[in-house]
Each structure stands twice: as C-alpha cells, then as structure tokens.
Amino acid sequence: MNIHEYQAKDILRKLGVPIPAGEIATTPDEAEAIARRIGSEVVVKAQVHAGGRGKAGGVKLAKTPQEAREKAAAILGMQIKGLTVMKVLVTAASEIASEAYAGIILDRATKKPVFMVSPAGGIDIEEVAATTPEKILKLPIDTRFGLMPFQAMRLGFFLYDDLAKARAASKIMQQLYTAFMQSGCSLAEINPLIVDKAGQVIALDAKMGIDDNELDRRPEIAALRDETAEEPSEVDARNANLTFIKLEGNVGCCVNGAGLAMATMDLVKYYGGEPANFLDIGGSSNPEKVVNALRIITSDPSVKAILFNIFGGITRTDDVANGIVTATKMNPLKVPIVIRLTGTNEEIAMKILSENGFSASSDMDEAVKKAVALATGGQAA
C-alpha cells in the first residue's frame, strides 16, 4: 500500500524530522487560506500515487496566497498517469543550498532493510546508481540490532563533512528507520533531503510504501489508505478479498493461485491474445468470491471474453462451478465464457456446469486458445 507524501511527512514529523510547515487542501479556497497561514512563499504539490509529478506539472511554486489558489485550481482535478488529483499539499517553500537522497528499501537479496544515501539528491536515485554508483552508500541493517549509532553517523558523514550537519542527518536517519519499522514499510525515502540557506538539514519530500501484510496489526497505518487515489476496480476487488490488477487487454482472466494466474496471462499472450487483468481468487473456494470476481471482470467494457482457469487442490472445483452458475443467474453474461477446471471434485463440477448450459474443459492450452479466439472475434465451441 502506498501512502501520500503528506501522510508520510506527518509520520516523520511526529518522530522529530524537520519538515517545512504544510497542510492539505482539496479546494483552491483551502489552498489560499493555508498559504495565508503559512505567510511565505509556498509550493503546491499534487498528492497522487504516481511518480513524475513534477514533470507532469503537479508541483508549482506560488509567491502569494492568490497565486496558491490559482496553482491549486490548475492542479486539482488534473490527471497524472491515469489518476485524478483530489488533494494538494500546500507547504512552505525552502531555500535550497544542497540536495541529498536518503531511503530505505526492504531488500530481498540481503534479506534486510537497506539504507541508501547519496549527496546527489533531488533526482532519480536509480539513475545515480546506474551512472555514478560511487555517490551512493548502501548499508544493510540487521533488524536484530536496529540502526546502530555508528551506522547512522556513517550515513551522516557520507552526506556531509561538517560534524553538525552529519549529526543532524544521522538523527534523521534514526527517525527514518524508526518510521520504517513502526509503519511496517517496504520502502521509505526522503528525496530531497536538503540543507537550506541557514544550514539546517530538512526533509522536503517523503514517500512510504507499506507491506500489505503489516496492515492487520497496524490499524493506524491501514487507516491511511486513500481509496479515491486508486483504480476503483482494484479497490472493489480488495474489499472482496481478491487480488486484482487491471491491464489493457480484452481477455478477462479468473485463476486460483498467483503463479498460475501469471502463467495463464502469459499463455493468453502466447496464443495471440491480450489479458485484461490479473485476478487470483486464492486458495479457498468460497462461491461468493467467484461471484465477486465475475462482477469485477465484467465491469470492464473492454473485456470481450472471460477465461476461468482453476486447478483444484485445496480449491474445490464444484464450489467454483456453483459460483459461476449463481453469478450468471444474477447477472447474465454479455460476453462469452471459457471454463477450464481440473482437480478436486472435477466430475461434480463438470456435471453442475453442463446442467446449467456451460461447457468446460480440463485442458489449459485448449481453454486459453478458445478464449483468445472468442475475444478476437471467433466463436465459443
């Protein structure tokens, strides 16, 4: 789960990280009022779960409250990478003397959170890593010990030669690490971490990604989810306990298991089609899940054919068959459906389906080929 810049900043500010004053606005009026309260030049920043806001025109400097209103009016409602901007952060502008980068990612290779810091901040850190790797210090953190003081100081000295700045940065590193651990992050970054004209080390932007598995035990973090900033069908799927990702194709896929779901999508492509989605109904075989899955798939107008691929292990294929029958009775399908079922209770499932006018196959390749043909204008068998 991603949270917004302003939410990440709230978390960091509470832990003591120096961050310029700022408030969230959903209307130009509010933006103007906030700018007036701040009483200096402000920056108006689109709050969306997408990178490249700056290039897309989602970040603007405003010298006066009136100007803040105008910039907010321009940014609110704009589309950035397909997402509509619903909120802007209005925050005091800083005079930047130098920009650095500080981030932590949960790294699968070292099996640890890894700090990455670079005095070359403000730009894409992956580009720094590719072009000038010597400008990045990567420091894996053993969570049994936490971020030790000497490590924090080493990170600080990598950014700044001056003791006072290195100390200030090392304190921010401790706070960023605390935020990372307390919030259950998979990613937390401050970019840019600046030194202002007065010599203060300040976080100007912040980003956090949360491990979804942490949300159950961190209700205060789970509450930060902003469903208005997400694809509605994905919100719908998540609330139905389905894993769903919308794609650009026209073959709607419904599969049990993530690996098989990906393999099914790949096979669609292999036979010349394009998958409309990733959808994993998971291990349990609750017919209601199937009903929800069909609703979500069919709500996408670009879907021209639906493909079920179910390998019954724990999943009982008769439950899936019952789900399909129920769902299509409630909402008759407007596009053809191709069903592949095999494994647990396969015979019962086949019987249920044929009694209700559906045909089904036990062969994956055959089913995929048929679905692709239907989506591209062929006929169901």
Binding site: A109, A263, F278
Partner: protein, 290 residues
C-alpha cells in the same frame, strides 16, 4: 531417494486443531506421512483424530515424540513466533505454509533459524511431497507419482499444473518442492538444486520461477557452474506490468530488474531448457531423460 523428506520423516503439525491445520493434518496422515504430534497451546493432553498427541509447546512435542520436522499452519501474525519456536526446540526442517507473514518479521526469523542450524521452507509455500513416501504441506498427493524428476517452484497451483502434466505423461517425481512466493524465504532455488544434484534418484530438474528479484538468475548461474544434471526452467509473469505486485509479495518488477525476459535470458545463458508454457515441460523433460 528424494530430498528433505522421506518415509522416515517424523512430523509435528503446529496449529493442528485449527481449521487449515486439522484439514491438512488428516490429508497428510492419509497420504502416509508419519504425523507424530501436534501443537496447540491449551490443548496439551488431547488426541487429534484419536491417535495423534497434542502438546502445549513445540518443546514438549519434540521431547515426547522425537520429531525432526514440523509444518506450520498458524495465522500470519503468529507465524514468525511459531517458526522460531520450532527452531528453538531443535527441529531440523521447518515448513511454513502460512501466507501473509510480514516481511520485516522474516528479517529476524531468517538469521534466527540460520543460527539454529535448521532449514526453513517458506513461508507462503505449499510445502513439499516425496511421492509414495511422505507429504508435508498442501500439495495434492493424487497428482504426483514416484519417478526421476525433481520439481522446484515459487508457486502453488502452477506447480500442480506442471506436476499434473508430467504425471499424465507418465513421468514421476523424486520430490516436488514449493519454495514460496515471498521476498524473504528460508529455502531458495539454489538450496533445492544443490539437493537434487546430490540425490542419485533425480535425473532431471524442473524449475518454475516468476518475475521479481534475482533468485532465478542466481539459480541459473548455479546450474551453469555446479550442476551436471539437466534443468528445465519456466518463468511466469511475462505479461506483468512493472511496479505492480502480482499476488505474491515477491512477484514484482522493480524498475528494469526482475523481468521475465531477464530471467529467461539467464536460463538460456546457463544452457537450460526453457519451457515457454507449462505444457512444454513434458517434451523438454522427456528429451532429457533419455
């Protein structure tokens, strides 16, 4: 022969009285696995299915039964503790089925288990099966058959699909291992490849990877430099968009890293057979068995 488990494996089930634990404990017992005990705090002294003793702690279960292996079916927030309890009790092989374990928990679990000298499989994995001898986890026994092929995979149902195709084609398996789809897990591809290379009964290895991380690339490197036996590989997620988690916490393309293309190229560079679709395994394995 086989890897990790066999007829002698003495298993305890952590969470044996829970919904999933009890269901699968029965399935494992029916398959022939020696389920020697179970653990559920507060149910110590009871018998599961009238025969299997239940204990309050893993330490008590190990002491009473001499178990060497455990399988864990407990809710995600308790899984890290359950794994560490198993390692602490001296169990040498720990299979964690639980899905949804926070990755930060695993950053502590991993070094703990390593220091204890145990092997962890999972979490978020289907377990493993040595057809005809023992199954630990949730892989359906009836899709497998004994034979000369080692199978290792990050995925559950995709494994079933491939094993099912192999079995239907008359090709049995030594052991089928699901290592799980989480970013940090206890046993990786290389651990399994190494074990299959050493197992005299295994003649060919099938390996199903997916997008995300560099485990498959590292495994390909291992195949190239340390394996004499032929390996056939597959990567799921060729159509996955970057930056989106495809169900598994570990199945995510970060920037330009962890793509299917990159992994398939690594397989090819290692001289491995590459299955373009699950069905291809059958012919590729057949060709290498002769």
């Amino acid at each position: 022969m086989s890897i990790f488990i066999n007829k002698q494996t003495k298993l305890i089930v952590q969470g044996i009285t829970g919904r999933d634990g009890s269901f699968h404990a029965k399935q494992m017992m029916e398959y022939g696995t020696q389920v020697v005990g179970g653990v559920t705090p507060g149910k110590g002294g009871q018998k599961f299915e009238g025969t299997v003793p239940v204990f309050n702690t893993v330490a008590a279960a190990v002491e009473a039964t001499g178990a060497d292996t455990t399988v864990i079916y407990v809710p995600p927030m308790f899984a890290a503790d359950a794994i560490m309890e198993a390692a602490d009790a001296g169990l040498k092989f720990i299979v964690a089925i639980t899905e949804g374990v926070p990755v930060l928990d695993m950053t502590r679990v991993y070094p703990y288990v390593k220091e204890s000298g145990a092997r962890l499989l999972g979490p978020n994995c289907p377990g493993l099966i040595t057809p005809g001898e023992s199954k630990v986890g949730i892989i359906p026994g009836r899709i497998c058959a004994p034979g000369p092929v080692g199978v290792v995979s990050r995925s559950g149902t995709l494994t079933y699909e491939v094993v099912y195709q192999l079995t239907r084609a008359g090709i049995g398996q030594t052991t089928c291992v699901g290592i799980g789809g989480d970013p940090i897990n206890g046993t990786n591809f290389i651990d399994c490849l190494e074990a299959f290379e050493k197992d005299p009964a295994t003649k060919v290895v099938c390996m199903m990877g997916e997008i995300g991380g560099a485990d498959e690339q590292n495994a390909a490197d291992f195949v190239k430099h340390h394996m004499k036996k032929p390996v056939v590989g597959f990567i799921a997620g060729q159509t996955a968009p970057p930056g989106r988690r495809m169900g598994h916490a570990g199945a995510i393309i970060s920037g330009a890293a962890g793509t299917a293309a990159e992994k398939i190229a690594a397989f090819e560079a290692a001289g491995m057979g590459v299955a373009k679709r699950p069905l291809d395994f059958v012919e590729l394995v057949k060709a290498r068995l002769n």
